[in-house]
């Protein structure tokens, strides 16, 4: 039962963005489309704040994709506890993003989707054979900027869109270095970029990254 005046979706996402945690209850509260507008406004503001820290020119905010990511994380974390749906129902609850992937959508989605690896880890703790894990990993594979550091099959990832924008590319490389995602750093495509960022200071910033692989 959802009380009309209260926007659980917005409150949850706001709490997630400010405290990096989600409080879940043993009750499924679906996302109502009329509540999404407030979330889009909130995420737009968050994106504006965050893009101050982005290197170079940040691409424009994409509201649809940001809300899709917020909805995905919101529902996925509820499904950790609430299980009255079958596997097929679970997939319906967590559809892929319908639109096209662009540099702007990658960063907009990341506002919330960066918390998805944590949700997956939690799901794995509860049950390693959970169907939910597979569903979420598929999303993470498509939006692998949010999943840097999470163990994904690096061969199956696409880089064209990431490399098409200097800002996204820089953020991607930074994230590889900060999270010390070695499986990504040793890819022939990314390795020169990582080394360019580290410069002469490989020993200082990332001592474990060997020089000759």
């Amino acid at each position: 039962m959802t009380i009309p005046g209260i926007n659980y979706f917005l409150d949850t996402i706001r709490h997630l963005r400010s405290h990096e945690e989600i409080v879940i209850y043993d009750r499924y509260s679906p996302v109502l489309s009329e509540k999404e507008e407030a979330v889009a406004d909130f995420l737009k503001q968050e994106y504006a704040n965050e893009s101050l820290e982005y290197p170079g020119e940040a691409p424009a905010f994409e509201a649809n994709s940001a809300v899709w990511a917020a909805r995905t994380v919101y529902i996925a974390s509820q499904l950790l506890l609430y299980r009255e749906k079958t596997v097929s129902g679970m997939r319906e609850c967590l559809p892929g993003f319908a639109g096209e992937q662009t540099p702007g959508t990658i960063l907009s989605v990341d506002l919330c989707l960066r918390f998805l690896p944590a949700v997956i880890e939690k799901a794995k703790e509860i049950s390693p054979e959970d169907e939910l894990i597979g569903v979420l990993e598929e999303h993470l594979k498509a939006w692998h900027f949010s999943g840097v550091g999470y163990r994904l099959d690096a061969g199956a990832l696409g880089w064209d869109i990431v490399f098409s924008d200097a800002c996204v590319k820089q953020l991607y490389i930074d994230r590889i270095v900060m999270r010390k995602a070695r499986t990504l750093a040793v890819l022939p495509l990314l390795r020169p970029e990582v080394m360019a960022v580290l410069g002469d200071w490989t020993d200082h910033f990332w001592k474990e990254l060997p020089l000759n692989i």
């Binding site: 101050l52 820290e53 982005y54 290197p55 170079g56 200097a166 820089q170 953020l171 490389i173 930074d174 270095v177 900060m178 960022v197 580290l198 410069g199 200071w201 200082h204 910033f205």
Partner: protein, 250 residues
């Protein structure tokens, strides 16, 4: 009956007037007296058992003589070397050697004195930890730079220039500074009295984490820890947006 001259001898100590201070160790021998004439000082009243005393023998540049009649003979000599001048004014050693204060007081600390802090050129090698460069140079690099290179740095705006503190330093040209305690000193300079660095820092800094930024001319600026913020593209963008154009004052 004639006097047996061999019994009538008395021992003397002779020393140049310039060496009068060497007589200090025997000043308290009460049976001695001294007289001066012609740039020489004689001490008389020595007993024969005093002659073997190591304190007496330890007096440098002193010669032991004996007086027979009016003539002075070297200690082991038979031929007189000079005559004793007549009419000498014999005084006790304690009178002849007055006490005085030494010219340098080792217990003087000069608490009331003040000292100007100066920087001097130094040849001691030290690695730089901070760089002062124009804000515009920093902005054009940092807003496009990798966060990896920025997140360990802190910065503060000083007039038209930006001071970036931290290592590894950015690959940008500027005047570099090295660190001595809480002091940021221009490269190639150090305090005239480096031992005072800690005291100066304690007097200038209000709380832990404050830094003192020094110029070559010896002027300094205390940088509060809260004013030196982490360097990031966002910090640069927001700072540059509020910087007044043509700001030149420190």
């Amino acid at each position: 009956m004639a006097t047996n001259l061999s019994n009538d001898i008395s021992w003397l100590l002779e020393i140049d007037e310039s060496g009068v201070d060497f007589l200090g160790p025997i000043r308290h021998w009460q049976h001695l007296s001294m007289a001066a004439a012609g740039g020489m000082i004689w001490v008389r009243g020595l007993r024969s058992d005093d002659l073997g005393n190591s304190v007496l023998r330890g007096i440098p540049h002193a010669r032991v003589l004996y007086l027979r009649g009016d003539h002075l003979y070297p200690e082991n000599g038979l031929v007189p070397t000079k005559k004793m001048p007549p009419g000498l004014n014999w005084r006790p050693l304690s009178k002849g050697l007055p006490l005085g204060f030494p010219s340098f007081n080792h217990n003087y600390f000069g608490i009331g004195e003040r000292l100007a802090v100066r920087l001097v050129a130094s040849t001691v090698e030290a690695s730089a930890v901070a760089v002062l460069l124009p804000v515009e140079t920093l902005r054009s690099y940092a807003i496009a730079a990798s966060a990896v290179r920025l997140r360990h740095l802190r910065w503060v705006v000083l007039g038209r220039e930006a001071l970036v503190i931290g290592t590894p330093m950015l690959p940008l040209p500027g005047r570099s500074f090295w660190q001595l305690g809480e002091h940021l000193l221009p490269a190639g300079y150090t305090f005239e009295f480096p031992i005072l660095a800690e005291t100066i820092g304690r007097r200038l800094c209000r709380q832990a984490g404050d830094r003192v930024f020094w110029s070559e001319d010896g002027s300094c600026l205390v940088l509060a820890h809260a004013d030196v913020v982490p360097l990031s593209p966002g910090s640069i963008r927001m700072t540059v947006a509020i910087l007044p154009a043509g700001n030149t004052t420190l």
